[in-house]
């Protein structure tokens, strides 16, 4: 009997022990959704982390150590993400956690990191409250969801001047908080929100809700969605000949090249907010974008740029930290002030956020099948096309 128990225990130990190896290298494991509905975003980020790591290693690594990246698939499930991070902190003794994508997973990871006092850099998770919890060890590289639409709102105020708006959003943390913020901003600007409705994420038929939107005749239709829904929405808007002065998207699904690929000509003229575009003039961003396109055939979205920049921010903090202890790294992170391909990075406590980096958000428009930066004007790569033709006037 004892033999049976011992062998059972050994099996368990083996299963978990076999995955870890130690070397002189700096091992950094990044949790990402690599399977499931969020896999597209995970893939863009994974590639970008790899590009950044290759660049860092070509220049001598971090404090002479070669950076070795590994990825673990969380499948966008919070308890799996939590498990991965527990492993990173406790077993691999990784001094800093980077990554995850969906807000639900980022919240789970943030909670672990704070409890275990290990710095965690949120890279592209939008939900506002991640950095509103008075967490000391959680840093966020991307602007919070509340600021996502700033560039878009600027464009709307200056050019479109809408009076009414309809908001559609997917039923997720990201979708809801994005829609709520947009409604708040719109009301403040005197734009009447005629409709704010959520739909099931991953739905295939939006016609009932779009018919409702059509009957209300809003000036602007604003949508917050991940990738497939964004393309489907625009295609069905086209099929229904739903006309508005402006179709606008709240980043994520509207801001990646797959949106244009999937929605085809229905994506023309669609404006979306974004945190970054390949045309921005931050130092190194163009080089990164071109390198990515050369390797993978498409320009990356802001998700990739954030991931790319995140590794440099981590490198910078690790190099400045006196020792690679959580406390010192946290202090170094807090003192971060650098230029990256994703903009200037500085983690500040402001407007109820802690350790939050703020970067200007942009508006993109799909012009002839490409995402072009149209707003703010100082960063524009093309002149915006407005007003846009009605569906029946398009060929």
């Amino acid at each position: 009997m004892r033999k049976a128990i011992t062998s059972a225990l050994f099996t368990v130990l083996f299963a978990f022990g076999a995955m870890f190896a130690y070397a002189e290298d700096l091992n950094l494991t990044i949790p990402l959704p690599l399977t499931g509905t969020q896999a597209k975003f995970g893939e863009i980020q994974k590639r970008s982390y790899e590009i950044a790591a290759a660049e860092i290693n070509a220049k001598g690594g971090i404090k002479g150590k070669t950076l070795v990246l590994k990825f673990e698939d969380s499948g966008a499930k919070p308890e799996v993400a939590r498990g991965i991070v527990e492993k990173l902190i406790d077993v691999q003794k990784q001094p800093i956690i980077i990554g995850e994508y969906t807000s639900a997973c980022a919240k789970a990871v943030a909670a672990v990191s704070e409890e275990r006092k290990t710095p965690y850099m949120v890279v592209v998770s939008g939900a506002d409250d991640i950095t509103q919890q008075n967490y000391k060890y959680v840093f966020r590289l991307n602007s919070p969801n509340a600021n996502y639409a700033d560039g878009l709102l600027g464009f709307m105020q200056a050019v479109v001047k809408p009076k009414t708006m309809a908001i559609l959003h997917e039923s997720s943390d990201f979708g809801t908080s994005g829609a709520d913020e947009m409604a708040k901003h719109a009301e403040a600007l005197g734009i009447k929100v005629l409709l704010k409705e959520k739909y099931e994420k991953g739905a295939v038929d939006f016609k009932p809700v779009l018919t409702k939107v059509k009957s209300l005749r809003p000036d602007v239709v604003y949508m917050v969605s991940y990738v497939m829904d964004a393309a489907l929405l625009m295609r069905q808007i086209k099929e229904l000949r739903l006309d508005a002065n402006l179709f606008a998207g709240g980043a994520a699904g509207f801001a990646i090249p797959e949106f244009v690929d999937n929605a085809k000509d229905a994506s023309e003229y669609v404006v979306t907010s974004t945190l970054w575009s390949p045309q921005v003039k931050y130092k190194g961003s163009k080089e990164y974008a071109e390198k990515y396109k050369k390797m993978y055939g498409d320009y990356p979205s802001y998700h990739g740029a954030a991931a790319y920049a995140a590794l440099f921010v981590a490198k910078d903090a690790l190099e400045r930290a006196k020792a690679w202890t959580p406390e010192d790294i946290r202090a170094a992170m807090k003192a971060t002030k650098m230029q990256t391909a994703f903009g200037n990075v500085q983690f500040v406590d402001k407007n109820g956020y802690q350790n939050q980096n703020f970067i200007p958000t942009l508006a993109l428009q799909v012009i002839k099948g490409n995402h072009e930066t149209i707003w703010p004007k100082t960063m524009a790569s093309a002149k915006y096309l407005y007003p846009m033709p009605k569906w029946r006037q398009r060929k």
Binding site: M1, I5, A8, L9, V12, A15, F16, M19, L34, T35, A39, K70, F71, E72, D73, G75, K77, P78, E79, V80, R82, G83, E86, K87, I89, D90, V91, A104, K107, A108, A111, E115, R116, A127, D129, Q133, S171, S172, D173, G175, T176, S177, K198
Partner: protein, 313 residues
Amino acid sequence: MKKFYPLITLAVLLVLPLLGFSTYVMHIFILLLMWATIGMSWNLLSGYCGQVSFGHAAFFGIGAYTAGILYSKAGASPWLGLPLSVFVVGVFAFIIGLIVLRLRGPFFALATLASGEVFRVSAENMDWLTNGTLGIMLQKRLWVSKEPYYYIILAIAVATFLLMKYLISSKLGYFFVAIREDQDAADSLGINTTLYKTIALVVSGMITGVAGAFYMNYMGYIDPHIVFALHDVSIITIMIVMVGGVATQWGPFVGAVIMVMLQEAVRSIGSLGALHQAIFGLLLIFIIIFLPNGIVGDFGKIKRFFGLGRVRA
């Protein structure tokens, strides 16, 4: 020898945290025990009583939200959700039972599936109560270390195991099996089938609800997509019991070992990349084809053929 198995397992589980495992391994053990508990509760309703439920996420979610709402709206400790969820889920399970237990076979399965979805959509839209899709987040969990959580879920799992053992060997257990084998025959023997099916559903729901409340306390964040998930809760529950062994005492436990531990182990093999799900899926298909009664149910077969061999119906 055989009757000592529960005690030996319990002793091993009791000393596990003292062996100095990392928090990661402890996290896996905690999830394992949680899923074993849910599996046992599903096994009562679907394994013994024959009412195959595709909607256990409803009970799991209601339990989790009981704890979450206590915290977010009443400012109370979410731990109170554990005892309270027994009551709340019991009431909801009774109401669901009134509707779905009128149906049989596949219609029952579909009705439970729908009830899970109904609760998810409700939770998404009742913003004033559930905070909608933004979910409920605990500012701070009670403990950082894993041991308290481990012993709490272990206590729940052991209590569930004993309760199941008691129920199945009691008169109720025979009624359940009679209903599973032939409801009409059971009826004609004078068994009040509606009553006993309701009892099975309510008890099963309560236990799943407690596990849900535990999840809230342990994970610290819930939203409707997480706790009312069709695939990640309802289907996983079914898989745990199917793989482990339907209508067996140890089946849910063994199933949870496979579905939680083995899945995590397969997922952690770095070289597989995104392929891990396919590999794990193949493994499940393999188990279900060759061991239709689950690992525990077909243990004799495993012994004889060591996992490879002819299938005897």
